[in-house]
């Protein structure tokens, strides 16, 4: 960050500006010796303020302009340029300059030089700057300031270069290009000092104060009002209330060795109960959940084919869940299904087989044929007409479901199915089934 010059340094600078008897070039060397490179920006800022706010008498303004020209980095660009001027044509020079970034204080000098471009010959300072920009090593700067005098344009004219060593027009183009890219906001500022002459009082300038305040003040702009956001309201639940806890949570000892055992026992007991009586829904859910998580439990539970059949009568859902898990092993499932053939067909056994047909890809065909035959026979065995009718309707639904699931091979059972439908043709479901079978046979 650039800090303002100390009072001593400011005095040093003012001394240099006062010095009218040392040649310009020597003054330039002195300013480089007296101020470090880091201070050059501050020196230039102070010189700019002095020039802008008219804080210097005419002869000192010329020195200030020279120092500004001397410290301006474009000066060094030009010097290099001169050394190489023999080798480079002017086209290349222009190109090179367009790619060079312009130093920050150049606008001040260009604004002054622009007046000379308009051939306003009364502008002494404009002439001086134009010479400085065009030829920094001009003989003019070997002169002492008091040799040149103020506003004596005639003396300057002999130093005015016949052909400018640098095309100022290129710099002006570059300058206007850069200026157009500066945001409007940055360009709207004006100087923050306003002269307010007071009548009847002795004039008293305080240059140091003026420079210091100007140095530390931004440009004056109209305000864009930015209301600050409010502090977020402290809501009731934002304050943290600390609950006084009466429990201490600690890692726990794994007692599940015994618990697992008892859990398994519990499962076995529940299954035992399922063979003999109907389970409540939560009990059924408990068994299903355990089976889902630990299918291996079935291996230890001593389930036999006959038991599964018994289970189907009391708890068909559990029976179905068990058979479903056995279905992957063909031999095993056939063994278990066999038990369904050896006993009387019931509503529950039909329900289990029906559900199974929905989840197992292909049930054993021989078993299915025999089971359907049993179903048909069971219809005939019922004497009560009403009960028989109901049973027939159920068997029809069962057979239809098997056909829908593509489990039943109708061809192999066609005769039997046909006679069943004909026998019970008085029941609408049977005649419907008959039509379905016929359609499928086509």
């Amino acid at each position: 960050m650039n800090s303002f010059l100390q009072l001593e340094e400011l005095t040093k600078l003012q001394k240099l500006l006062h010095d009218q008897s040392t040649p310009f070039q020597n003054l330039g060397r002195k300013v480089t010796q007296n101020f470090s490179n880091e201070q050059h920006f501050s020196v230039c800022s102070v010189l700019t303020i002095m020039l802008r706010d008219d804080l210097l008498p005419g002869e000192e303004r010329i020195v200030a302009l020279y120092l500004l020209l001397h410290l301006s980095p474009l000066g060094s660009e030009l010097k290099t340029d001169e050394k190489q001027k023999q080798q480079q044509d002017s086209k290349n020079k222009k190109k090179q300059l367009l790619s060079v970034a312009l130093p920050p204080f150049l606008p001040v000098l260009l604004n002054i030089a622009q007046n000379s471009q308009k051939f306003n010959e009364t502008q002494f300072e404009a002439f001086f700057v134009t010479i400085g920009l065009s030829d920094p090593n001009s003989d003019l700067f070997k002169q002492r300031p008091n040799q040149i005098g103020v506003n004596n344009i005639e003396r300057l004219k002999k130093y005015f270069p016949e052909s400018s060593k640098i095309d100022l027009q290129v710099i002006f183009t570059k300058f206007s290009q850069i200026e157009s890219e500066i945001p409007l906001v940055n360009k709207m500022g004006i100087g923050s000092s306003v002269p307010d002459p007071e009548k009847g009082k002795e004039s008293k300038k305080n240059v140091e104060d003026l420079i210091q305040y100007q140095f530390n003040t931004n440009e004056f702009k109209p305000p864009f009002v930015r209301p600050s956001p409010s502090i977020l309201q402290i809501l009731d639940n934002e304050l943290i209330w600390i609950d006084y806890e009466d429990e201490t949570l600690l890692p726990i000892w794994d007692q599940s060795i015994t618990n697992v055992k008892s859990n398994n026992d519990q499962f076995k007991n529940l299954l035992k109960k399922a063979f003999t009586s109907q389970l409540s829904q939560p009990e059924q859910q408990q068994i299903i959940l355990r089976l889902e998580n630990e299918p291996k439990l079935l291996e230890d539970s001593e389930i036999t084919p006959n038991k599964v059949k018994d289970l189907a009568e009391k708890n068909p859902i559990i029976s179905f869940e068990i058979l479903k898990r056995f279905s992957e092993d063909e031999e095993k499932i056939n063994r278990y299904l066999e038990s369904f053939i050896q006993t009387k067909v019931t509503l529950h056994s039909m329900e289990v087989i029906n559900k199974l047909s929905g989840v197992v890809k292909k049930l054993n065909q021989e078993f299915l044929n025999r089971f359907v035959s049993n179903c048909i026979s069971s219809c005939r065995e019922i004497k009560d007409k009403y009960v028989q009718g109901r049973h027939v309707r159920l068997v029809c639904a069962f057979i239809r479901s098997l056909m829908n699931n593509s489990q039943l091979d109708v061809k192999s059972m066609y005769t039997e199915l046909q006679s069943f439908c004909v026998n019970f043709s008085r029941i609408r479901d049977a005649s419907n089934l008959f039509r379905l079978i016929k359609n499928q046979m086509k």
């Binding site: 009847g200 639940n237 600390i242």
Partner: protein, 714 residues
């Protein structure tokens, strides 16, 4: 094994450990048994050290889980996972604990009921602490269906011990139900549950007296009593019965104060007592008194820290929570610098709360306002004329210019020396090891970005949960829930959980990453991807946090001369449909950013938005505590918002070189607030830019308060 267990319960950990080692040597092949033995061994070793080596214990458990995860199910590793979760919970790594418990909850049907209950209970506790209301409700119904309802029929068959455990668990669940009700501001429900709890406890006491069995000792009884009554005070405080809450709290303190000296190891009670008393006082608009109590709470809390460095004591250490409350107190007492330090301390555990970050950003801003205000008052004559220099013909007036980047708080953080970190004093309290970073606008913008990121994340989780609830009613609920769980899990994984575990350095890195993430993705687009329309009442405060974070970021970015972030965050805020006050400010900030980005046309559009709703009355819309003197008093005046709109519109018109219309707007503003320095500055600018220096000076002199020439030479 039974012998080992007996030795463990008798706290003979060495013997238990030896016994288990012998069993382990003899066991081979049975993975389940090996897991149990190894986890028992780890537990004994952990308990042997007095729970002072949690990291080692966690490492061992991790090793066991990894080794057997291929062969065994989550249910088989249930105890290992639960013990990991409980240690993480005690170490305040809540997110990690929640993820572990969630995996157990999914398998709750196959867990042994004791573990199933404990895991779900802890998850519920965490869920309530994190204000996840819908998840908490789900967990409560799960616990009630899974562990209480189905067992009702078997209760009679259960042994006395089991019944007592279930009774105890019911009480624990009731306590959590009270907390949840208070989170939802359902005071009556909370009161009802508390009365139920009190009844159960009284009945138990009566039964114990009648049967003369297993009486609770005095200490346990007192603790239970204190816990229950502290909850009663919480309910009273929540109901704004502040006097009653205060009296009840003092009653409790007398109860503890009357204890014999050897029974008075109650630092935990005193820290919560003073903290809660501070909360009541702060609610009662007595920040000074509240600060006194919070300091006492911190002192009592430091006693817990001085005790043995066990995990249990660490979990009892509520420094972060008390520090947060203290910070709030200090904000109200207009001490943003001190508040900033306390909020930094609170970050250690509360880093995933957006409000802490918001408060940190606000502290920086308050300090920024204070410094600017000081600058305006010290070393300058008034708000219009900075200095009058010289005398007579050479007299020159230096005008005040706007607030520049070098005014107020520094933009960049200053490096903090090691000494600053290890011994930061806050008033008469000294804390060690608190990472105190210097206040800066840059830090404020980071804090605001973090608050945005966290609240966005939390809102996404809530969105997912809402989706989950809606899909539960559909038939295909299972698949949806899994998806959501996965999303949640990922959210948690990507979250800030590591901060607490890996120290402050990682926290800082994380912060930076977060900020990059926010800046790059969301802020760049200025678009939102969260549905904020269907939020419950409880989640509205989170939405408010998000909006406020964006507003702060936009403002701070302008202070830092970063119009790109300012514009994108203001745009993002406007997409969230904020309340009129924030909408008004966001439009102004966006307009200023557009001006800085050389787009006066767009700026005009944003200002027109505020013009269309010119009936904003800032006084009515102002949401913050009004008694803060640091804030400009102008901001509470009605019609000020209209004046601001006019001045800003004039500014944009000047940029567009439409000086005539600009001067009309400035005249309108001048009629509304003729003495406002900002209005006068605009008038002076117009005169000066037209070359009417004399008119400008007359304007300045017309208002003597802003041009005290008599004092100019002093």
């Amino acid at each position: 094994m039974d012998l080992a267990h007996r030795l463990f319960t008798q706290k003979k950990f060495n013997e238990a450990s030896q016994q288990i080692s012998t069993l382990l040597e003899k066991t081979s092949g049975n993975n389940k048994k090996i897991v149990k033995l190894k986890s028992h061994l780890a537990l004994c070793d952990y308990m042997k050290t007095g729970c002072t080596q949690p990291e080692e214990y966690l490492e061992t458990l991790n090793g066991i889980a990894k080794q057997f995860s291929k062969d065994l199910t989550t249910a088989d590793l249930g105890y290992v996972i639960y013990n990991q979760a409980i240690v993480n919970y005690q170490l305040k790594r809540y997110q990690r604990a929640a993820t572990q418990l969630e995996s157990l909850r999914k398998n709750v049907g196959s867990l042994d009921p004791y573990l199933g209950f404990e895991a779900t209970y802890l998850l519920l506790k965490l869920s309530i602490e994190n204000n996840h209301i819908s998840q908490s409700n789900e967990l409560i119904s799960l616990i009630e269906n899974q562990f209480f309802q189905t067992n009702t029929k078997n209760n009679q068959k259960n042994s006395g011990l089991q019944t007592r455990n279930q009774n105890k668990n019911r009480q624990r669940l009731l306590m959590l139900k009270i907390k949840l009700s208070l989170c939802c501001s359902e005071h009556n429900k909370a009161e009802l549950f508390l009365n139920q709890l009190q009844e159960i406890k009284n009945r138990n006491l009566q039964q114990q007296k009648e049967n003369q069995i297993e009486k609770l000792n005095g200490k346990e009884l007192l603790k239970e009593n204190l816990c229950l009554n502290m909850m009663r005070c919480k309910i009273e405080n929540s109901k704004m019965n502040l006097e009653e809450a205060k009296n009840n709290l003092w009653g409790l303190s007398k109860m503890v104060g009357n204890l014999k000296t050897e029974e008075r190891d109650q630092s935990e009670f005193w820290s919560s007592f003073y903290n809660n008393l501070g909360c009541v006082e702060l609610k009662n608009n007595k920040p000074g008194s509240a600060l006194f109590y919070f300091k006492k709470a911190l002192l009592a809390n430091s006693q817990i820290c001085k005790n043995e460095k066990t995990v249990n004591n660490f979990s009892k250490d509520k420094r972060s929570e008390i520090m947060y409350n203290t910070g709030l107190c200090l904000i109200l007492l207009e001490k943003p610098q001190n508040a900033f330090q306390f909020f930094q301390g609170a970050l250690v555990c509360l880093y995933n709360r957006p409000k802490v970050w918001i408060r940190l950003a606000e502290c920086c801003l308050l300090e920024h306002f204070r410094l600017i205000k000081d600058k305006e008052q010290v070393g300058s004559l008034n708000r219009l004329v900075k200095k009058v220099i010289g005398q007579g013909q050479s007299r020159t007036v230096i005008l005040q210019t706007g607030i520049g980047p070098n005014d107020g708080l520094n933009i960049h953080e200053e490096s903090v020396s090691f000494e600053d970190i290890v011994s930061s004093n806050v008033g008469d309290l000294q804390f060690h090891g608190i990472p105190v970073q210097s206040m800066s606008l840059d830090y404020a913008s980071k804090a605001a970005s973090n608050s945005i990121l966290i609240s966005e994340k939390l809102l996404k989780i809530i969105n997912n949960q809402n989706q989950k609830t809606s899909t539960t009613s559909n038939n295909n609920k299972n698949s949806k829930i899994d998806e959501n769980n996965k999303t949640q899990k990922n959210e948690f994984k990507n979250g800030n959980d590591n901060k607490n575990e890996n120290g402050i350095e990682k926290q800082k890195n994380k912060e930076k990453t977060n900020i990059n993430h926010t800046n790059l993705n969301a802020l760049k687009n200025g678009k939102t991807n969260i549905d904020l329309d269907n939020l419950s009442k409880n989640d509205q405060s989170l939405k408010q946090d998000l909006e406020h974070g964006l507003l702060l970021l936009s403002y701070i970015s302008l202070c830092c001369q970063n119009p790109v972030t300012a514009l994108s965050s203001a745009k993002m805020l406007l997409n969230y449909n904020p309340d009129p006050y924030r909408e008004y400010l966001a439009n102004i900030y966006a307009a200023e950013a557009c001006c800085l980005l050389n787009n006066p046309n767009l700026a005009k559009e944003y200002i027109s938005q505020t013009l269309q709703k010119r009936r904003y009355q800032v006084e009515k819309l102002f949401k913050g505590p009004k008694n803060l003197k640091i804030m400009s008093p102008k901001e509470y005046e009605s019609d000020w918002s209209d004046c601001v709109t006019l001045l800003n519109l004039a500014f944009v018109l000047i940029l567009q070189n439409d000086i005539q219309t600009a001067s009309e707007y400035i005249k309108q503003a001048s009629r509304m607030f003729p003495n406002s320095p900002l209005v006068l500055l605009s008038c002076v600018y117009l005169e000066l830019s037209n070359g009417n220096n004399q008119n400008a000076l007359e304007l300045l002199k017309s208002c003597h308060a802003f041009y005290p020439l008599e004092n100019s030479q002093k």
